[in-house]
């Protein structure tokens, strides 16, 4: 994944126009500030929904928790559907889709270069379509799930057993943390390099990613304990950490305390 993104950025700098020469040579220094934090749409619906959706997600997780402990695979599969629906609704209502005047972050402040081709992707001539963008983002989230699965295995998840468990856990991570980022950034290499390098400004989407990663990481902590509780099952604790971390990160990232700040 990362290599593909890096390739994208390399092609951008491979043949800069003459005028841009100085800018390009300093691009490493100047490109970062171009990435703006994502603002929630200013309409009242979005402003009220931004807090309603986290509450709904948290409620969903709490309600499904018992089922999750009893039968992780089935519960994760069904919860994944509902979470995905909630995330899509959240994205459509609250977030600016990639390529819109306010979304697509990195693009926003930059004038199109002379002779630059129109970017293909979500940005159709008529402006981005929220539904299409969200569906494409959902597909992208699905596509990166196997990579996340491999990451989980590398961290020590079971290799040959519990495949469904781990895969569903990866899917949850993808739908929660990556889907909003796909929605607002599309597949823009520069933005993703900033997100991946943790140099993006904090906002709801990036804060959610950081929170989800840290939460899932901490979720592994209780697994080895010999308490013999049902909820220590793989991957219940990871999922708990993931949801808690994501919601916390998203709320914090969107709050005026840290919004726009960088690591």
């Amino acid at each position: 994944m990362s290599s593909a993104l890096a390739k994208g950025s390399s092609s951008r700098f491979a043949a800069p126009s003459k005028n841009d020469m100085t800018a390009a040579s300093q691009s490493t220094a100047t490109a970062t500030p171009l990435l703006h934090p994502i603002q929630i749409k200013p309409n009242p619906l979005a402003q009220s929904a931004r807090h309603a959706f986290p509450a709904l997600l948290a409620g969903l997780f709490v309600v499904r928790f018992r089922a999750l402990v009893a039968d992780p695979v089935w519960a994760m599969a069904t919860t994944l559907m509902l979470s995905a629906v909630l995330q899509v609704a959240y994205a459509v209502i609250c977030l600016p889709p990639a390529g819109s005047s306010q979304g697509g972050a990195a693009r926003a402040a930059r004038k199109p270069r002379p002779g630059e081709k129109k970017r293909v992707g979500f940005e159709s001539a008529a402006g981005p379509n929220a539904i299409a963008t969200s569906l494409l983002s959902l597909i992208l989230s699905g596509l990166v799930t196997p990579f996340l699965y491999i990451c989980l295995v590398l961290f020590g998840a079971p290799f040959l057993t519990h495949t469904a468990h781990t895969l569903l856990c990866a899917a949850h991570l993808s739908v929660l943390a990556l889907f909003p980022l796909f929605y607002v950034h599309g597949v823009d290499a520069v933005s993703w390099a900033a997100v991946g390098g943790f140099s993006a400004p904090l906002d709801e989407t990036f804060g959610g990613l950081v929170g989800a990663l840290v939460g899932a990481w901490l979720g592994a902590v209780p697994i080895p304990l010999d308490w013999d509780r049902d909820w220590q099952k793989w991957p219940v604790t990871i999922l708990c950490g993931l949801y808690a971390g994501y919601l916390l990160g998203r709320e914090l990232g969107g709050s005026s305390l840290v919004w726009g700040k960088r690591f």
Binding site: S2, A6, G156
Partner: protein, 1071 residues
């Protein structure tokens, strides 16, 4: 886009011929000037004088630099020796308080002084002929004139009873079970529970004295000290009886001079490869003795074959079946020679775990079997269902110490003074199982002995005995009251009353002897903690002298020096080590003498006081004389993400040692940390400005993580990890041999690894000098021969080539192993000392000016690192042989991971960050687990001692076992200097100081781990899991720390010295 890099990347050479050349060109210019001067020297005589003067000055400067370097090296080494001493004293001090001690009473039981002597009813039994004499029976009528005791080492209970499965170790030894069922009056078989630790020496002490072992004795398992306490053999000897011993020579060590010289035969006990010598010796000599019964009273035969088969192959092996069948036949024949006056006892001194090892306290290790046989027909059962021996060791077990009063009373001798066991029911219940009066009498006699011992013990220790209800004293009074009542006694009730007294006392003693000396423990912890602080200050105090590697500046400086502008040889910069070592010594002296004098004056005479006081005063003076302590203290707190990461890994793991779960699952946790590190470096690579660097960094990070996960498939599970873990280290979970497919692994490593190392070296054109021949041929040959060794070993174990004379394959394999070790350690060290730097000088035409020649030095940019790499490779060569095939694969992966780590650190400009040493330490600890070890005593692979040797030989055997056990940590330690040296050109300044600081961070990780395990083991000293989890983890951490300290001095620092000298001789001395 990534943010601008705050610090410009230091001159990391691109893997490009021209860059290397350009770098060298600057340095070469100085030389050219001189060369030019030299050519024109005929023209001007004046110049000649100038030149020669300059030459002389240069030579003087070089010599001064060299001498300065050697002096600094000595001071640095001095600091590390001091640090090692501090660690040693801290650990010794804690250990002396932590490992349990029991006061040994010198009292002896006497035939004419039964313990019931003072009671109103001295004897429950009516008087018998010869009462009060050994021949009639001191405290109980004598039943047998003599006894034959056969110890079958590691005879686990389930080996002796029918089990419905096809395991090779089941149903192969049916004789004892059959006799117990067929002739219950002649024989009985019961589970025989050992008190841990389950090492033979400890067990023999328990089996002859009747006391509980304490942990502190475990350390003497390899030296074997004579038993001073009252014991069965001492009683017999003092009564003028003759004792004969055959087999395991541990007996000779424990009972020197006890045995009849011309009849006894002792055999070497630690040669675990040899399954038959000891057993054949016992069998050869025992039968002639059976026909000369009047020449001895006690005959001890100790067979080791079963134990050795367990150690060597694990129980699940055809050799074990063979061995058990042989024992079955042996006992069958022996029983046939036993007469009415002789008692035959067959027992295991401990069991074995599922891999055939022992030492701990798991069920399989403590459950041995006990069988007694005599054609006299005196054995009885108090209940009919007791006739059939228990199907598992959980049912009706007897304690091993119970053998002591049983044998003493049956043979008519007094019960040893310190005994805590009780008589075994079957031996005294009469043939019909109704002799309750006899049972009550022996139980009371034993209990009285225990009471007498307890009273003396408490008097000596000055402790009050509790008499609360339920306490042993209370139970005793109740039991005595039953007797003094007089009239018709309920013997069964009397029996059980005294039995409960014995049980209560035993329980109490077990608690009591878990006594810790808190003062020593706390002193040890304080010394260790202060040591860690000094180490951290040491690491932090030089953090800001970031070395500027600027060839131009360097050149200018040199020129000035040569012209004499700069004052002569002000080489010695602030040498921290020098400033620390002298106060350390000065501070130690008053403490040491004060302590020693005090301990002599106060009459305690222990060496602890001197050394601990010396350590404390020494640390105090060092701290006082630390320059800029406040700045350094401030520097300890990490300032970057990487510093925090290093801190989080170290601290969270140390905190985790407070929980048995995190200690048990340490290997998974280490993998988790390594993967976390790899992910973060991969992500942070996105911030690198250069795309090529980004790709490389991501590539190496992913590689690092993937290799870690690959290595994690090599697992040796500890008992507590079950059922969530399956071992892959050996052929099966009940074996300690490798599966055939595992034998392929070393061959694969031999093919792949040298090429990988070559690829890493070629990046900087450093595959020059000795490297191609050493890595490509010698190192590869060593790996190949190691692989061959393991193939031969399996061929030997599995007897793949039938028809060869005995031991042919073993002989060949041992010499192969010796050659590998000679190659890696002797030839390797010699080569490392004499090797030139891994560079090569090439002259070519300048592309711009075809007339002029261009001199380029290949491998210049990595002159230090490439050459030093040969040293860890030599260590790897030795460890590779000494680890089993699976572990050899893990070590191959480890060196690859180390190389990746070096690249990651270099690309991210982290060569001075503490994350490098900490990751290396994590890597080393991780591979400790991946080479088939766990933090438990039973996972020590003793059999590795016989890879290059036929018998135990000091000092080689302990070194070999240490190289096997701590291969991961040792390899990691030897690789620490690479963190600084990798991609460091010859002009890199202050190499030694940077290396010493990296070593400081590395050792700090292990010191913090030791400190944490000490703290937790001390804090949780009453925890149920103390001996299973916390104590072994403390011992592992302490041993690892001391080993790392030694390797730091002997390998890392010495290696850096040799390396710098070699580079300095060629390129001139950097400061």
């Amino acid at each position: 886009m990534p943010p601008p890099q705050p610090t410009p990347k230091k001159a990391v050479p691109a893997p490009d011929y021209k860059t290397v050349a350009a770098q060298w060109a600057a340095a070469k210019r100085a030389k050219e000037i001189e060369d030019a001067d030299r050519k024109d020297v005929d023209d001007e005589k004046e110049d000649r004088g100038q030149v020669s003067e300059r030459e002389q000055r240069r030579a003087r400067l070089e010599a001064a630099r060299k001498a300065g370097y050697q002096a600094r090296w000595l001071w640095t080494t001095g600091f590390w020796v001091w640090m090692t001493c501090i660690h040693l004293v801290g650990i010794a001090c804690f250990t002396s308080g932590f490992l349990l001690t029991r006061l040994v009473l010198e009292d002896k039981a006497r035939c004419d002084e039964p313990p019931t002597g003072n009671s109103s009813v001295p004897h429950l039994l009516p008087a018998w002929p010869g009462k009060g004499t050994v021949d009639g029976g001191c405290w109980h009528p004598r039943t047998f004139e003599r006894a034959v005791i056969v110890v079958i080492d590691a005879l686990r209970y389930d080996f002796t009873v029918p089990v419905e499965d096809n395991a090779p170790f089941h149903n192969a030894f049916p004789f004892m079970y059959e006799t117990a069922v067929r002739e219950p009056r002649n024989a009985f078989l019961r589970p025989f529970i050992a008190d841990p630790p389950t090492s033979t020496l400890q067990r023999l002490k328990g089996l002859t004295t009747g006391t509980l072992p304490t942990f502190v004795d475990l350390g003497s398992s390899f030296s074997g000290t004579a038993i001073e306490e009252d014991n069965l053999l001492m009683q017999l000897r003092d009564a003028g009886k003759r004792i004969v011993h055959l087999g395991d020579d541990t007996w000779e060590a424990l009972f020197p001079g006890y045995f009849v010289g011309n009849l006894s035969r002792a055999y070497d006990s630690f040669n675990v490869w040899d399954l038959h010598t000891v057993d054949n010796g016992v069998m050869e000599h025992i039968f002639p003795l059976m026909s000369r019964k009047d020449e001895w009273t006690l005959l001890v035969g100790h067979c080791l074959g079963v134990d050795h088969a367990g150690h060597r192959y694990g129980p699940n092996h055809p050799e074990m079946t063979k061995k058990l069948r042989q024992m079955d036949d042996f006992i069958r024949r022996l029983a046939a020679t036993v007469d009415d006056k002789t008692l035959l006892v067959v027992m295991g001194d401990h069991g074995m775990d599922e891999k055939g090892d022992h030492g701990g306290e798991s069920d399989d290790e403590v459950q041995a079997a006990l069988w007694m046989y005599s054609p006299k027909g005196i054995f009885g059962r108090t209940k009919p269902e007791y006739v059939v021996p228990p199907s598992t060791a959980k049912i009706r077990p007897v304690n091993q110490i119970d053998l002591v009063p049983t044998l003493a009373l049956l043979l008519g001798i007094p019960i040893p003074f310190n005994n805590l066991g009780r008589p075994i029911e079957e031996a005294f219940a009469g043939a019909d199982g109704t002799a309750w009066e006899n049972l009550a009498a022996v139980e009371r006699m034993t209990a009285a002995g225990i009471k007498r011992y307890q009273t003396s013990y408490f008097t000596v220790r000055g402790i009050e005995q509790s008499s609360a209800p339920g306490s042993p004293a209370d139970l005793w009074d109740k039991a005595e009251a039953l007797i003094s009542k007089g009239g018709k006694l309920d013997w069964a009730a009397v029996f059980s009353a005294f039995a409960s007294y014995q049980e209560g006392t035993l329980r109490r003693c077990k608690e009591l002897w878990a006594r810790f000396d808190l003062k020593n423990m706390i002193t040890g912890i304080v010394i260790m903690a202060l040591g860690v602080i000094v180490l951290l200050l040491y690491v932090a105090s030089g953090g800001d002298d970031d070395v500027i590697d600027d060839p131009e500046l360097d050149l200018a400086e040199r020129t000035l020096e040569l012209q004499g502008v700069k004052a002569d040889a002000e080489v010695a910069p602030s040498d921290l080590d020098k400033r620390l070592v002298s106060p350390a010594l000065l501070g130690a002296l008053p403490g040491f003498f004060g302590g020693v004098i005090h301990s002599f004056v106060s009459g305690e005479g222990d060496w602890y006081r001197g050394s601990t006081l010396a350590a404390l005063t020494s640390i105090a003076t060092v701290m006082v004389s630390m320059p800029d302590v406040r700045i350094a203290a401030w520097n300890i707190l990490p300032k970057t993400l990487w510093g925090w990461l290093a801190l989080v890994f170290t601290i969270s793991q140390s905190v985790g040692f407070a929980s048995n779960s995190y200690t048990i699952w340490e290997d998974s946790i280490l993998l988790f940390f390594m993967t976390t590190f790899g992910f973060i470096t991969a992500l942070s690579a996105l911030r690198l400005p250069s795309l090529a660097d980004r790709y490389l960094s991501i590539y190496h990070s992913v590689l690092f993580v993937l290799l870690g996960r690959l290595a994690s498939f090599s697992k040796l599970c500890r008992e507590e990890q079950m059922p969530y873990c399956s071992s892959t280290y050996y052929a099966s979970s009940t074996s300690s041999t490798s599966a055939p497919w595992q034998l392929v692994i070393p061959f694969l490593v031999c093919i792949i690894l040298p090429s990988i190392i070559k690829a890493y070296l070629q990046q900087t054109r450093s595959y020059e000098g000795l490297a191609p021949s050493w890595i490509g041929y010698v190192f590869r040959t060593g790996l190949f021969m190691s692989a061959l060794y393991w193939l031969l070993d399996s061929a030997d174990n599995g007897n793949w080539i039938p028809g060869l004379p005995d031991k042919t394959v073993k002989t060949i394999s041992v010499y192969t192993a010796q050659m590998v070790l000679g190659l890696a350690l002797v030839a390797g060290t010699t080569a490392f000392i004499w090797a030139p730097p891994c560079v090569s000088i090439v002259t070519s035409a300048l592309p711009s000016q075809p007339g002029k020649a261009q001199v380029a030095i290949l491998g210049y940019a990595n002159a230090h690192g490439a050459r030093y790499l040969l040293l860890p490779l030599n260590i790897l060569g030795a460890c590779f042989l000494l680890s089993k095939p699976m572990g050899a694969g893990a070590l191959g992966v480890m060196i690859w991971q180390i190389l990746s780590l070096l690249e990651i650190l270099d690309l991210n400009n982290l060569s001075t960050s503490p994350i490098g040493p900490v990751m290396l330490a994590v890597l080393g600890t991780f591979h400790f687990f991946k080479t088939g070890h766990q933090a438990v005593l039973s996972s020590i692979q003793w059999d590795s001692a016989f890879i290059p040797l036929f018998t135990i030989r000091y000092p080689y055997t302990p070194i070999i076992v240490a190289l096997n056990t701590l291969a991961g940590q040792i390899l990691a330690t030897s690789a620490v200097p690479l963190l600084v040296l990798w991609k460091a050109g010859p002009k890199r300044k202050r190499v030694l100081e940077s290396v010493s600081r990296a070593l400081g961070a590395f050792v700090a990780y292990f010191a913090v781990e030791s400190l944490a395990t000490m703290l937790w083991a001390g804090h949780l000293r009453r925890h149920l899991m103390l001996y299973r989890v916390f104590s072994p983890r403390f011992m592992t951490a302490a041993v690892a720390l001391l080993a790392v300290d030694v390797v730091v001095i002997v390998v890392a620092l010495a290696g850096v010295r040799v390396n710098t000298m070699a580079v300095g001789e060629v390129f001139g001395w950097a400061e």
